[in-house]
């Protein structure tokens, strides 16, 4: 049975393939880069599938399990951005981010708990978490572009960042709306202003400000990049940062 203890045997080969892919993209071998990155994605997907079967529930409950998805989607997003725009450094950055989250799971795999509390036994559980994790990873790529733009003092990356923000906002919105529908089934109201929901709203509003500023022609260069970094910080707060706030004690999202 595949458990957290088997994770290292999947994570290390996946990371190796990922960094070989990143090196190949740096050397302008696009096909080799994409083949190795696709290999890394397949190895990670194989672990998630086997882990899901072993747990007898979707691996989406603990922070460690959501890190697993983030690491996986970071590879997928990096792959898609590279396939679309061929930024030769994007695979390296997405590989580093995926490796950081994979390493966290190797060194602190949270709990090996197989139980799933009744509140999480819902058809909304899988789409809600996966859609959110995918949007987080897309914004991860967007923030890499924003940082590159700030460091190189250029607006060249902004059109690509815009495309990523539109994709990320789509999935963020769908994640938030699926959460609202689930909340109605579970707690009676679509929106309860729970700390987690409040931080989801903060992130979503930041995305709306970014998109409106760009549409109004006011979000050039520096402002757009700073907004993207704020969106990324908002996402981290919503994901796990909220657990460190005093208001987390009252959160209905603590399981």
């Amino acid at each position: 049975m595949v458990t957290w203890s088997s994770y290292i045997y999947f994570a290390l080969p996946a990371m190796l393939l990922l960094f070989i892919g990143a090196a190949a993209s740096w050397r302008r071998s696009a096909r080799v880069a994409m083949a190795f990155t696709a290999g890394a994605i397949l190895v990670s997907a194989a672990f998630i599938a086997a882990f899901w079967v072993g747990l007898q529930r979707p691996p989406m409950r603990t922070i460690g399990e959501t890190r697993l998805w983030y690491s996986f989607f970071m590879m997928v997003s990096g792959f898609l951005v590279y396939a679309r725009w061929k930024y030769r450094w994007i695979l390296l950055f997405s590989a580093v981010m995926a490796a950081v989250f994979a390493s966290m799971n190797i060194f602190m795999p949270e709990i090996h708990d197989r139980t799933l509390v009744p509140a999480l036994q819902s058809g909304w559980f899988v789409p809600h978490v996966t859609v959110y994790m995918f949007s987080y990873s897309v914004f991860g790529c967007a923030v890499i572009l924003a940082a590159a733009g700030l460091i190189r003092r250029t607006d060249t990356y902004l059109p690509s960042a815009d495309s990523l923000v539109y994709i990320g906002t789509t999935f963020l919105t769908l994640g938030m709306l699926s959460g609202a529908l689930w909340a109605k089934d579970a707690w009676g109201l679509y929106w309860n202003w729970d700390p987690k929901e409040t931080w989801a709203a903060v992130t979503w509003i930041l995305c709306l400000i970014y998109m409106h500023c760009r549409l109004g022609g006011r979000g050039g260069g520096r402002l757009a990049s700073i907004l993207l970094i704020l969106i990324f910080i908002g996402l981290q707060m919503c994901w796990y940062g909220v657990n460190w706030l005093p208001s987390a004690q009252e959160s209905m999202h603590v399981y």
Binding site: W85, K86, P159, Y190
Partner: protein, 309 residues
Amino acid sequence: MLFIRVRKTDFMKLLKTERTQCMAFWTVYIALACGCQYFFGDFPSSFFAFPVNIAVMLLWLAVLWVLFKEKRDSAVSSVLLSFHTTVILLSAFLAACLVQGFSSVKLTGTWWFTAIVFALLSHLFMVIIRGSIRPRPFRARFLLNHAGLFLALAGGLFGSPDTQRWRTIVKLAEPVTEAVDTDGNLIRMPYRLQLTGFCVDSYRDGRPGNYEVTLTADDGTDIVLKVNHPYCLSWKDDLYLAGIKDVTDSGYGPVAGSCIVEIVRQPWKYAQMAGILMLAAGAALLFIQGPAGRPRRRTDDAVQVMKEV
């Protein structure tokens, strides 16, 4: 003297800019809301229960419609339709969410939070009218996203005085007709419920795996309740299982002596549901159509530049 005259002219020019007018308008508006909060306490939400909320909403929408149709050149219309208003109100809403996010204080009942949502709704309504009559790119996406957000927010703001939650403990022994509302007041429920069956599954470590209860209503209907599976009592009332109590081991498995149920009355849920579905469709179009007004040449040039880097 000349220096002062020049500075004065610049200042007058600044005052006449749309951005400054919007900033001034919304600063005074939010300051007034804060003043109301200081002098009167929280927003008197219960005063706006049905039918007052419907009357106020229709009057408000009619005023906005007249403003758009007849007084389009007025200062208020300009402010309500301005791009700067979008950014200012989104930033104000963001600030309110941040205050709530970092504290454990519920701000949704305050004057200033209500004022920000009301202003946002007014702005949304005005831009929806303009967007629906004026040709623009991605019109369907624009209307779905803005009208969806309008419905979801309006359902929340105008529907909150009509939303009620009652909790009660339903026992095996006798039917219950009383419950406690969110303010702790004892009320008589329009339903009579009795616990007649239960099913409790536990994991090996004793943690609850799943539980469901069967209640009997006063008309003899059997209601099966599970977490995440509410029961629709009427078009506005839903029944939820909030927990089970008095679980004992009978020798044949765990037995629940009573359960906690919650009745949620939310007549505006349909408006919110419609808003959520429209927003979901708008989000899908956001993904399909991509950034609006993207300068295609610039993007392609950027791709070319990056390929060369």
